[in-house]
Symmetry: C2
Subunit: 158 residues, 2 copies
């Protein structure tokens, strides 16, 4: 995967957290990986298609998900309720949407986010994709972003 | 969600199973649902975007996933290996891709499939989406398909 496609996601995560949640974020790590076991409790996934095709997977620590929901709706939920699902779907959508805006040449469109709840699962990309995983630390807790994006020519030929 | 968008997925699932796996399929149920807890062990998700936006979630019984992989690669895996992940990603991609071809007016593009492994998880759509869940029975085992698709005008206004 083209590493140029990574910075837009880092910048987007930092700016969405600051703008939407008033929360500072720093990136703590990055690695190329074959598969991905979210360490966290709630994960948003959103598909991208256009001149490149792929997915963005963002996994949030439970406490971060609750605090982010509180920042948006004014009340802290006690469990991973529908409000939390919507918050995670919306943050996933905004982080991918902002990043997309910095990669106009790819003419990306977003699908709808889906949200996975539960610790005992792994999320895998097709074996031909080598996603890049980014680890982040914020004032509200930890999250990570995995981006797997292939330029469409590769998809058609591959 | 427009129910006209459901038949293409049913027809596509029947034809992909027959063509790729030599396996007969019948649909056993359909319901509109707010969220979706896959009863099964391995689930493919793929995003769609264009004049409508959404996701297709296909959850497979473990034994079906193993038999489908055997039908494609000639050897039955003993666990949910990389070959099984790729088989489920590819079946998800083909079922969504075939259905897309019957809905040309929506000008849909597919994202890449991701595959979730693990029983203790639920997959949720944003609360504004009312997906339709379809249950299927095949010679190789059970699976279900959930389709959540919104016409893009609704997404922009909503």
């Amino acid at each position: 995967m083209n590493a140029d496609y990574i910075n837009p996601f880092i910048e987007s995560a930092v700016s969405v957290f600051e703008m939407m949640l008033g929360c500072q974020v720093k990136r703590t790590g990055a690695k190329v990986c074959e598969s991905f076991a979210p360490q966290f409790d709630i994960t948003g996934i959103i598909g991208l298609s256009g001149r490149a095709t792929g997915d963005v997977v963002i996994s949030f620590e439970r406490e971060l998900a609750l605090l982010a929901t509180e920042a948006l709706i004014g009340e802290k939920p006690t469990d991973l309720s529908a409000d939390v699902i919507d918050t995670i779907g919306e943050l996933t959508n905004m982080i991918a949407g902002n990043a997309k805006a910095s990669m106009e040449e790819l003419e990306l469109k977003l699908a709808l986010p889906t949200v996975i709840v539960g610790k005992n699962h792994t999320i895998r990309f097709p074996s031909k994709v080598r996603p890049i995983a980014l680890a982040f630390e914020s004032d509200m807790g930890y999250f990570n972003i995995e981006v797997g994006l292939m330029e469409s020519a590769c998809v058609e030929v591959g």
